[in-house]
């Protein structure tokens, strides 16, 4: 069989019905554009969030007391306070896969300076916290181990707090004494701005202080709400988690099958979780877009069906002058595929253009979100519309091929 000739015949038939072919394509165009945009949106959101988390350092490890078991039932208050200072010290002493480790006491409250006040969060940490969180100092300096020992009333301010309390004047802030709730603390350093996180929280809306100060003077507790650490490197995060788990189980006297009363999670795992969530979201978006593609496919089927009926005499003629039934079938199938693939290509192009426009608008409006076109989604879109053409063109084409030439020639 000569596919080149059948292709020419199919193209000719499409050109003879320009408007109809174009309208049929429109369904596919819209479907493919939607699929491309939705996937791009989902992937863009995923990569934005992942990118911002990675900027923190993906070898960040968080340790919490476990507040709920796997079924979601809340545990006892004792379990919520399961992390003790001795756990932190044991980890610091024994863990070989950790580079930095710091207890983390966080407490919300009101920061006050002169006539200004702002709600913010104070973090009680040790000197390694800057390394763990990737924070840098803009002015002044970090507190020292001596400050920690002395339970010193010193702190460092995030940029947002400086903005709120000192109208952005970091020079005025440095050296001044502010109050956190009722506790007066001296500002010995200003942190460099980190901007908002992927989750939308303001990473500059913080005050950091020696953990002893926050533990004893602000929160007055004897347990640790959480511990943060960073692994030697990302590739060892698995071992680091295993090691932490082993040390803490020993510390807590948990044996055999008994469940942990703490949770260890690396940024890697958080990233994985986000990955899964975002992939599900992308899939959902794509599924919605896919429906419009199916509607487009049904459009093709409908038009091809009408076309076969309308061109019954033509089919009869072609058969009488020597077209075999499989050649008739191929002609109509090629027609359907050409319509869907052309629609698909136009859809991909319009998807790319719209994608560019949306990205531009996002950049102009300063949104941290982005659109991410993946080559894979384009290839998939292309394959899907080829398949759509074959799938939805099949039945009409078979109907055409099964016509009896004698009846077809007489068809009025």
């Amino acid at each position: 069989m000569n596919y080149g000739n059948l292709f020419k015949i199919a193209i000719k038939a499409i050109r003879n019905n320009k408007i109809r072919s174009l309208l049929t394509m429109l369904g596919i165009i819209i479907g493919i554009t939607a699929v491309i945009l939705m996937i791009s949106l989902g992937q863009g959101a995923k990569s934005t969030i992942k990118g911002e988390i990675s900027s923190i350092g993906s070898n960040l490890i968080n340790i919490w007391p476990s507040s709920a078991d796997e079924s979601g039932a809340r545990r006892s208050a004792a379990d919520m306070q399961s992390l003790k200072m001795s756990d932190y010290e044991a980890l610091r002493r024994e863990a070989r896969y950790l580079r930095y480790i710091s207890p983390s006491f966080s407490s919300g409250g009101q920061a006050i300076a002169g006539n200004n006040n702002t709600p913010t969060t104070i973090y009680g940490v040790n000197t390694e916290y800057l390394e763990i969180q990737g924070l840098e100092i803009l002015k002044g300096e970090m507190f020292t181990d001596e400050h920690i020992r002395e339970i010193a009333k010193v702190c460092l301010l995030g940029q947002t707090v400086v903005d709120e309390l000192f109208d952005g004047d970091s020079d005025a802030a440095l050296g001044s004494v502010i109050r956190f709730n009722s506790l007066p603390v001296r500002v010995i350093g200003i942190l460099k701005s980190k901007g908002s996180s992927a989750m939308g929280s303001d990473q500059d809306d913080i005050i950091i202080a020696p953990y002893t100060t926050v533990q004893k003077r602000v929160m007055a507790i004897d347990y640790i709400p959480s511990i943060v650490a960073s692994g030697l490197s990302e590739e060892y995060s698995g071992q680091a988690i295993d090691e932490i788990t082993a040390i803490l189980r020993q510390q807590h006297g948990i044996k055999g099958e008994a469940k942990n009363n703490f949770r260890v999670m690396s940024m890697d795992e958080i990233l994985d979780t986000i990955d899964q969530v975002m992939n599900t979201l992308t899939l959902l978006l794509a599924a919605i877009a896919f429906i419009s593609l199916i509607v487009g496919g049904v459009g093709i089927m409908n038009i091809m069906y009408v076309s076969v009926t309308e061109r019954t005499r033509e089919i009869g003629l072609r058969m009488s002058i020597g077209a075999k039934s499989n050649q008739i079938m191929m002609q109509f199938l090629i027609e359907a595929v050409v319509i869907s693939v052309t629609g698909g290509i136009i859809g991909i192009l319009s998807g790319l253009i719209l994608n560019g426009l949306i990205s531009l608008i996002m950049t102009m409006t300063g949104s941290s979100m982005s659109m991410l076109i993946s080559g894979k989604s384009i290839v998939v879109a292309f394959l899907v519309c080829t398949f759509t053409g074959i799938f939805f063109g099949w039945y009409p084409a078979r109907k055409a091929a099964r016509l009896d030439p004698i009846d077809a020639l007489r068809y009025e």
């Binding site: 000569n2 000739n5 020419k8 033509e314 072609r318 058969m319 009488s320 002058i321 020597g322 077209a323």
Partner: protein, 248 residues
């Protein structure tokens, strides 16, 4: 021998089962058509001439009996092989032309060659132009079917029937949709092709056409009731010339 048999029909029967009834459309038809004959097959409706036409055109196969086209047995052929046989050996001319709409004369004439992979694109165009020239439409090659008169459309259809250089031209009421003058023009064209040695079978219910052919077969109730050669073939060209001139 010299002149070969183009069509050999031997005791052909064709039965159709309609519901519980069996319709005997052909009840034992035998005849032979030699190369270069211009045969009209006549009969009223229900005589079986359409059934015979479909058999001769390899669109259908006999229930019993043998049909040889160019000495090839058609009875046992499957649909695909008959399609190829039609493509190589037969040129169809229909009552309603059956040209593709919105398609130029040239493209319409080229159509049968699209289904013959051994014909290249350039040979296709060359043959189509030659066929259009043979029917006197060299100046209309790029006209679309809807831009042409009925007579011109039928000429395009005849060119399409000629383009594959068939052993048999099979015309089905080819003048049925045309006025008298145009009918004569088309008949004159058939006579010209006949004179050039083409074998033509013209199925019609119009008795007048028989006078322009070399032989006339008459069917009735599925049997041949008359088969005679025409000693006095009339010229369609002369009949055309004898017509009163067209007004305006």
């Amino acid at each position: 021998m010299g002149i070969s048999n183009i069509i050999r029909v031997e005791d052909v029967h064709r039965h159709f089962v309609v519901g519980e009834e069996t319709v005997r459309a052909l009840r034992g038809v035998s005849f032979t058509i030699k190369e270069g004959e211009f045969v009209t097959i006549m009969g009223s409706s229900g005589s079986g001439k359409s059934t015979l036409l479909n058999l001769l055109g390899c669109l259908d196969t006999p229930t019993s009996g043998e049909y040889y086209l160019d000495e090839i047995s058609v009875r046992t052929m499957d649909g695909n092989r008959r399609a190829t046989l039609r493509n190589r050996k037969i040129g169809f001319v229909f009552q309603s032309y059956n040209l593709l709409p919105k398609t130029t004369a040239l493209e319409n004439v080229e159509l049968p060659l699209f289904y013959n992979p051994s014909v290249s694109a350039s040979a296709r165009k060359h043959k189509a132009l030659a066929a259009l020239d043979a029917v006197g439409l060299s100046d209309r090659i790029n006209h679309r079917s809807n831009q042409m008169s009925g007579g011109q459309q039928q000429r395009v259809a005849i060119a399409r029937a000629l383009v594959n250089d068939p052993v048999l031209i099979l015309a089905d009421e080819a003048t049925g949709n045309l006025d008298t003058r145009t009918s004569y023009e088309i008949l004159a064209l058939f006579q010209k092709l006949h004179a050039e040695g083409r074998t033509i079978v013209f199925v019609t219910h119009n008795p007048e056409i028989a006078s322009f052919s070399s032989r006339n077969i008459v069917l009735k109730d599925g049997r041949i009731i008359d088969d005679r050669y025409n000693d006095n073939i009339q010229s369609a060209a002369e009949a055309l010339a004898a017509m009163p001139p067209e007004e305006d």
